[in-house]
């Protein structure tokens, strides 16, 4: 038990939490933007995977991690436009479409990896690049806070900035207002001349961009390679984080941090004498518990509301 506390209350652990929260946070913000427009993007897992591989390939061929990042984001846009086109224009059930995209990404990345790197597991033979780590001036000198906050991958800072950007975008821009209007009441939005389909398309694209960032981080920051199914359910954990965060940027950030904590715990506990299988379950169990707690509180509140309504009536 002492060991456990030593692990959690160390600056290394604090650093690790931010490090593993990054992909979840990107994906959760991606889920948030599409959800606010009333479209569920469950293809985030596959989108991140596709972006991760694209980033590795392009950074290896151009020698620049930033070009890799650019193409990872383009891959994210590509994936989400497929989903948007099929679900909004061809009326594919968006959940089935998302499932299809996830399956496609899971196998398709291995397919492409084999063509490019002649390996079906890992991109080790590609000389891919890593996005830089950044030492924060001044903050890095502060004890405790410095080692936790400084020297992260640039994408980790991007993910934190993205929380603010998404907040600003949704609540302070005309497009954000339209997205929220469409999500809350598509018929009303339609009646004032907003094209629901167009707004939902745009929000899915934005969702793809954020998932693209998350994927790029996985293969060019979190680790320096692409491996088969490396996202390991983070795209789905993100859906839970977004739901727990009640579809608000700040709430989503806090929920992502919670799941990041579970993920970091699972990584650090591997040194303790607990069966590895149980340690690896931690993030997933936390997600289910988190989802259950969130859902139970939501239904209680809904229940209270209906009671109040009945009383009024």
């Amino acid at each position: 038990m002492d060991n456990l506390f030593n692990i959690i209350f160390s600056t290394n652990f604090g650093y690790a939490v931010l490090r593993v929260t990054t992909p979840i946070l990107f994906a959760a913000l991606a889920a948030l933007i599409s959800d606010r427009a009333g479209v569920i993007n469950i293809s985030l897992e596959g989108t991140m995977l596709a972006a991760a591989l694209t980033g590795v390939i392009f950074s290896a061929y151009t020698g620049s991690a930033w070009v890799g990042l650019l193409f990872a984001v383009i891959a994210g846009i590509f994936m989400s436009s497929i989903l948007a086109y099929f679900s909004l224009y061809l009326k594919t059930d968006i959940i089935l479409g998302g499932i299809a995209l996830n399956l496609m990404a899971s196998g398709g990345t291995v397919f492409v990896l084999y063509l490019v790197a002649h390996d079906k597991g890992i991109s080790a033979s590609l000389a891919s690049k890593v996005l830089p780590q950044i030492e924060l001036p001044l903050i890095s000198k502060i004890p405790v806070i410095g080692p936790v906050l400084s020297n992260h991958n640039v994408m980790t800072y991007f993910s934190l900035i993205a929380v603010i950007v998404v907040y600003y975008f949704l609540y302070r821009t005309p497009l954000g207002l339209r997205i929220r209007a469409v999500g809350e009441n598509p018929d009303a939005a339609d009646s004032v001349g907003i094209s629901v389909r167009q707004i939902q398309f745009v929000s899915l694209i934005a969702s793809g961009i954020l998932a693209g960032f998350g994927g790029a981080y996985m293969s060019m920051g979190y680790v320096s390679w692409f491996s088969r199914d490396m996202t390991a359910g983070r795209g789905f954990i993100a859906l839970a984080a977004e739901a727990m965060g009640m579809a608000t940027p700040i709430g989503t950030f806090l929920a992502s941090l919670l799941f990041g904590f579970a993920d970091a715990l699972s990584n650090s506990l591997q040194s303790l004498r607990i069966p590895a299988e149980f340690v690896q379950m931690i993030p997933y169990i936390t997600t289910i518990i988190g989802l259950a707690i969130y859902a139970s509180r939501r239904t209680q509140r809904a229940g209270a509301k209906t009671v109040r309504k009945e009383v009024k009536a």
Binding site: I42, I82, F86, Y89, L90, K91, T92, D93, I95, L96, G97, I99, A100, L101, L103, M104, S106, G107, G108, V110, F111, Y114, L115, K120, A232, G233, F236, I237, L239, A240, A243, P275, E277, F278, Q280, M281, Y284, I285, T287, I288, L291, A292, Y294, A295, S296, R298, T299
Partner: protein, 349 residues
């Protein structure tokens, strides 16, 4: 009614054709020996008796998982837990097969029943969370897959592992528990009869029983079902538990029919393949064997192609996605449906 069935059939065929044409285009782009590759892909599985046997071997688990998925999808429960239930069902069957000594016939039946119970128990979790608190069964069942995988591996490693096997595998299952393989030169096993039986039972359940009716009505319109007195919460529960049971039975059958030991080191993927089959078959149990044969044929074809040529078998995953997207696209070819409806109306008038 007849016409719309015909239309759905044509739509499926066209979607499949488009997907296969895409496969050809991909092959022509990446391969140095495209004709050979296409030849292997299309005709490999019927080139020898053994290879066609491989197709039927793969059909068995696919039938179980896709039946599981179709039961849940017919109730509009997007539960992805067939994968985890399949896996943990196989672990349970391995445990019974290794630890118990029972007479033949009874032994596999007990092991398969255990697989079903464990698979159903696994899916109880997302089902309960959905029924009680409306928690998304999609997310919780996906998380559950990872949990079931780790739990299964834990049991194999700590309780059933054969330390002298040289690899991370379980002890051998007692021969009394194995399902007999009855076609020489293939591994087609008695599980195929269980699969066929499962198709009939699930069909009967969905279309001829009160519970099945309630399940389908909930799927079509849960509010309407609610108003007409159907306990939709019960449907949410039992549709997913039954789905988990079928998947668990599938995992147990696969293990006892195909293997002597438990040796999976990762999720075998049949649960997700089951989703593809169920979508191809429009969640109709009677169409599932056809769709399962189709998918297995494509998989074995791709596998043979990748062994003989430079095209990796994962190509299939791309064309599968195209197929699912097009088949699930309501607006795909809807222009023709519209025309057909108009023509029919004119004739009637």
């Amino acid at each position: 009614m007849q016409k719309s069935t015909l239309f759905e059939f044509l739509r499926t065929v066209i979607a499949v054709l488009i997907a296969i044409i895409m496969a050809f285009i991909i092959i022509f782009f990446i391969s140095k020996q495209p004709i050979e590759a296409i030849n292997r892909f299309l005709f490999g599985p019927i080139s020898s008796f053994r290879h066609f046997g491989n197709v039927l071997e793969m059909v068995i688990p696919l039938i179980f998982t896709s039946l599981a998925v179709s039961v849940m999808f017919q109730a509009k429960q997007f539960n992805m837990g067939a994968e985890g239930s399949f896996f943990i069902g196989a672990v349970a069957a391995a445990a019974i097969g290794i630890k118990f000594k029972l007479p033949p016939v009874l032994h596999p039946l007990v092991a398969i029943a255990a697989g079903g119970i464990v698979g159903g128990a696994a899916n109880f979790i997302p089902a309960f969370l959905k029924a009680r608190w409306k928690a998304s069964e999609l997310v919780s069942s996906l998380m559950l897959n990872y949990i079931m995988f780790n739990l299964g591996i834990y049991f194999i490693n700590y309780y059933l592992r054969d330390p002298y096997a040289g690899a991370m595998v379980s002890y051998t299952v007692n021969p009394t528990a194995n399902l007999p393989q009855f076609v020489p030169r293939t591994r087609i096993h008695a599980g195929i009869f269980i699969a066929v039986l499962a198709v009939i039972v699930v069909y009967y359940f969905l279309y001829r029983t009160r519970w099945g009716f309630a399940l389908r009505m909930t799927g079509i319109n849960s509010k309407f079902a609610d108003y007409s007195g159907i306990n939709t919460n019960m449907v949410i529960l039992y549709s997913q538990i039954i789905g988990g049971m079928i998947a668990g039975i599938g995992g147990a059958t696969e293990l006892l029919g195909m293997y002597q030991r438990f040796q999976w080191q990762s999720l075998p993927g049949y649960g997700f393949d089951g989703i593809i089959v169920a979508i191809l078959a429009r969640n109709n149990p009677l169409l599932i064997p056809v769709a399962a044969v189709f998918l297995a044929y494509m998989r074995i074809g791709a596998d043979l192609m990748s062994r003989m040529t430079d095209v990796p078998s994962e190509m299939v995953s791309v064309i599968q996605a195209v197929m699912i997207m097009l088949i699930a696209a309501e607006a795909f070819l809807s222009y023709w449906r519209h025309k057909m409806v108009v023509r029919e109306a004119k004739i009637d008038g």
